[in-house]
């Protein structure tokens, strides 16, 4: 049996942008998923005492099955420890240091056969970003981070005037192009944006497509913020064509994942998040082909998806 690839998410952003707040929230709301979180500094994480099951050295085990590991100076060593631990995790989340390039870390998700890159999330401190972007010592570091992002979280918007938030957003867009920017406070981000594990399952049993406005349940509820499209495509898709499509997805698509037939006896897993997609050979699924995609409400390119996967 093929090993299940462990989804890897990288959280980047300068000091004070809210990486720790985001991680804390994610850990608390893991919803039964066992996440291994690699952080720079435990102290900053400030995990609620009642959530701690056991702490030893560089590792804290939480009562909900999640684990926090301190990276120290050697990410490789910390990640090896997670991958080789006997615990079967459902996902790995790495907190990049405030000055590091998250893309360098994200490549681990492409490199290791045991990992699958699930996305790079970069937080921006809306209250401080304008000043930081003018600091010649920092500007290039922040720009590098934004260029790596699949999702930009404009955090702490309550620390800035609406005009300044708009300026920060324009600055980020001038660097990161059409990458989605999510404006928020307290690092509140819907789970569906953070990870493909937050995507709903594909509906229906046939090629019929389903397109609906999706309201996420649970603590991440932001009301009907997303549209979901799902499908069970029956066709055979050429890998080269799919890879080309992944490089130029229709505007409005935030995430997509699924399984497709890519040859007579060949199946592939397709995944897209933010600004990049992957296609990987996999074993034939028990339930046939399935695809699910999300976009912001009213912006999901359902017709283009249908043209590609149903009529294509």
């Amino acid at each position: 049996m093929a090993r299940e690839r462990l989804p890897l998410t990288v959280i980047g952003g300068f000091l004070g942008a809210g990486k720790t707040t985001l991680l804390n929230r994610w850990l608390r709301e893991a919803g039964g998923r066992r996440i291994a979180v690699l952080v720079n500094d435990f102290g900053a994480l400030n995990i609620d005492a009642e959530l701690v099951a056991a702490a030893s050295g560089d590792t804290i085990a939480l009562t909900n099955g999640c684990v926090c590991c301190q990276i120290g100076d050697d990410l490789s060593r910390a990640l090896i420890a997670v991958l080789e631990s006997r615990t079967a995790f459902d996902a790995v989340v790495i907190e990049a240091s405030g000055v590091s390039d998250p893309w360098r870390i994200a490549q681990l998700g492409l490199a290791d056969p045991g990992l699958a890159l699930d996305g790079v999330i970069v937080l921006v401190d809306a209250g401080a970003a304008l000043q930081q972007s003018r600091d010649p010592l920092l500007a290039d570091t922040l720009e590098r981070q934004l260029r790596a992002a699949d999702l930009i979280v404009l955090n702490k918007t309550d620390d800035a005037t609406p005009q300044d938030v708009a300026r920060v957003s324009a600055w980020a867009a001038s660097i990161a192009g059409r990458t989605l920017q999510w404006e928020t406070t307290q690092a509140r981000v819907p789970l569906a944006l953070l990870t493909s594990q937050g995507l709903p399952a594909a509906r229906g049993h046939h090629a019929a497509c389903s397109h609906e406005t999706h309201a996420h349940a649970g603590a991440h509820d932001h009301g009907s913020q997303f549209d979901t499209w799902s499908c069970r495509p029956e066709g055979v898709f050429a890998p080269t064509a799919l890879r080309a499509w992944l490089k130029d997805t229709p505007e409005g698509l935030l995430r997509l994942k699924g399984l497709l037939r890519t040859g007579e006896a060949e199946w592939s897993e397709i995944q897209f998040a933010g600004r990049r997609g992957t296609l990987r050979r996999t074993e034939a699924p028990a339930n046939g082909a399935a695809l699910v995609a999300i976009g912001l409400r009213g912006q999901l390119p359902a017709a283009a998806l249908e043209a590609q996967f149903v009529h294509g």
Partner: protein, 556 residues
């Protein structure tokens, strides 16, 4: 009264400017009792005359202010460098000047491993390979599989950013043509088109291999054997005091250091510097940790130094450069620590009365450090702090003048002039800044206390070679980088003794031969002050004396 031993010598270079030369030195209790002529010794009463150094030249034991103990354990693996290099047993490994020579050495080591009964699954790990000297020819599996197609081979490059492996290792690491990561280099054409070449660039690609060989290889922790090997190398090079300029100082690390240094056979005094970046402690706790270790110091083990790090390396294009940036147009490098974080953490260690050594390679990083330290000193003035900028390779005269005003020391990476000087001139920074690379002349002119270093194992431990670089400023291609930045032999000798001792706050104990100081000597066959400065790197070291104990360097 403890016994007195008097050593006559052909020449004693004391490095004490008030008494530069002597013929005799008396030692009692591991310390220098008297320096001068025989009559000066007789004033102290009865002594044993030990004439073993009568034909030799004595200097203060050399002080390496920036190296790493890993220099000792690297020799557990096979050396593949371009330059000749001496191992801890004193054997000189010839530099390898062709791909064929590299393959031949690997094949030889593989055969030896097989003869020794090492299982074929155990990887052959090698280090020091540097393709920069091979004129564009890249190493691939086609080369390495000739050395062995069964035993996994892993070669770490000298710059630390790349690796080459053979097909057997690719198989174990499950690296195939399908791997999507940018750092897995693939054949662009030919029969093997699309297959991995075995060259792995940057951490993500190298991770695949480290994961499989991890603790058995390059991630191996500090061991007692490794530290002992370092001691042998130090003795071979005349070094009696050396830093380990990044150490996590966990209880296990301290245990290894304390075990090795408590042994009277240990020929070197070690100063480990606590890793105060990307570390195990926040700054206030880190400062507390270092302070708690200081009472455990002994003569041969001195806790108390702190290491911080601002940027990357110049030849890796990860150093932070000011205008006009990289000569070849590469983007600016990276911050290892954000400048604001550096300032906050620096202040915590500074307020705890500790001396902080900061890695700054590029001039933007050096300037950021100077700016931060200037503000910290305004908030928390402290006399005689001896904070030191380490590497400081692109510091110019105006920055040196600011450093002098702030009481900062410089420990410059003079070995770079030889090892990467041509690359700096041609690629990384261009002629103007390469000509003031590791500007020892400017540092001294500005009145900055100066040390020079090897950063071993990045370049080999050997202060006379480092001094030769600072004195001659030559590159392998024959360039003289900045004639006016050259310093004299006496100045260079000071930088590898008293100068380095000053940056470690040990100048009252070591660095010169005078009454009251530790009896630390570097014992030489030649007189470095009487030689052609161009031959300084070839001065022959007989061995060392550490706190009165004599260690003859053993050469294999």
């Amino acid at each position: 009264m403890s016994p007195i031993t008097v050593y006559p010598a052909r020449q004693i270079i004391t490095m004490n400017p008030m008494q530069p030369h002597a013929t005799h030195v008396a030692v009692r209790d591991g310390r220098v009792l008297a320096v001068g002529a025989l009559e000066d010794m007789q004033a102290w009463g009865a002594f044993t005359l030990d004439e073993r150094f009568a034909g030799k030249v004595l200097m203060p034991g050399l002080v390496e202010g920036h190296c790493h103990l890993k220099e000792g354990s690297m020799w557990d693996w096979t050396y593949l460098g371009w330059f000749d290099r001496q191992d801890p047993a004193g054997k000189v490994w010839n530099g390898l000047r062709s791909m064929a020579a590299v393959i031949a050495r690997l094949a030889e080591v593989d055969a030896q491993m097989t003869t020794d009964g090492v299982p074929a699954t155990k990887p052959l790990i090698a280090w020091g390979f540097d393709p920069i000297y091979f004129g564009g020819e890249r190493m691939t599996v086609e080369h390495l599989d000739r050395a062995s197609d069964t035993r996994p081979i892993v070669i770490g490059h000298a710059n630390g950013h790349l690796m080459n492996v053979n097909t057997a290792m690719l198989r174990i690491a499950e690296i195939t043509r399908d791997n999507e990561v940018e750092g897995v280099v693939k054949f662009a054409g030919g029969l093997m088109e699309g297959e991995p070449t075995g060259e792995l660039q940057e951490p993500a690609a190298m991770f695949l291999v480290l994961r499989k060989i991890g603790n058995a290889g390059l991630l191996a922790p500090m061991t007692e054997a490794g530290v002992r090997s370092f001691g042998r190398l130090a003795c071979l090079q005349g070094v009696t005091t050396a830093t380990d300029l990044v150490n996590k100082l966990t209880e296990a690390d301290c245990g290894v250091l304390e075990k090795v240094t408590q042994d009277d056979d240990c020929p070197v005094r070690i100063l480990p510097a606590f890793q105060a970046f990307h570390g195990t402690h926040g700054a206030p706790l880190g400062a507390e940790h270092v302070r708690s270790l200081i009472p455990r110091s002994t003569d041969r083990l001195r806790y108390g130094l702190v290491k911080m790090m601002l940027d990357g390396s110049i030849q890796g294009f990860s150093a932070r450069l000011r205008w006009p940036g990289h000569f070849n147009g590469a983007p600016n490098g990276i911050w290892v620590t954000a400048p604001a974080q550096y300032e906050t953490d620096f202040e915590a260690y500074h307020r705890a009365d500790l001396t902080i050594h900061t890695h700054t390679n590029g001039d933007e990083a050096s300037e950021a450090a100077i700016n931060a330290i200037e503000r910290v000193l305004a908030r928390a003035p402290r006399a005689d702090h001896r904070h030191t900028l380490q590497h400081g390779q692109m510091i110019d005269a105006p920055m040196f003048r600011r450093m002098a005003a702030l009481g900062l020391c410089a420990n410059l990476f003079a070995n770079h002039i030889w090892y990467w000087g041509d690359q700096h001139y041609e690629t990384t920074m261009g002629p103007d800044r390469a000509n003031r690379l590791d500007a020892c002349g400017s540092a001294l002119a500005a009145g900055v206390p100066l040390a020079i270093h090897s950063d071993a194992p990045v370049t080999p431990l050997g202060p006379f070679f480092t001094a030769w670089c600072a004195v001659n400023r030559l590159t392998p291609k024959g360039r003289l980088l900045g004639a006016a930045e050259r310093i004299g032999v006496p100045q260079a000798l000071r930088a590898i003794t008293l100068g380095a001792a000053w940056t470690l706050k040990l100048d009252h104990e070591i660095g010169s031969i005078e009454c009251g100081k530790r009896a630390d000597f570097c014992v030489l066959e030649d007189d470095p002050l009487a030689m052609d400065p161009m031959a300084l790197k070839d001065v022959r070291v007989w061995g060392t004396v550490l706190s009165g104990r004599v260690f003859e360097a053993r050469r294999g």
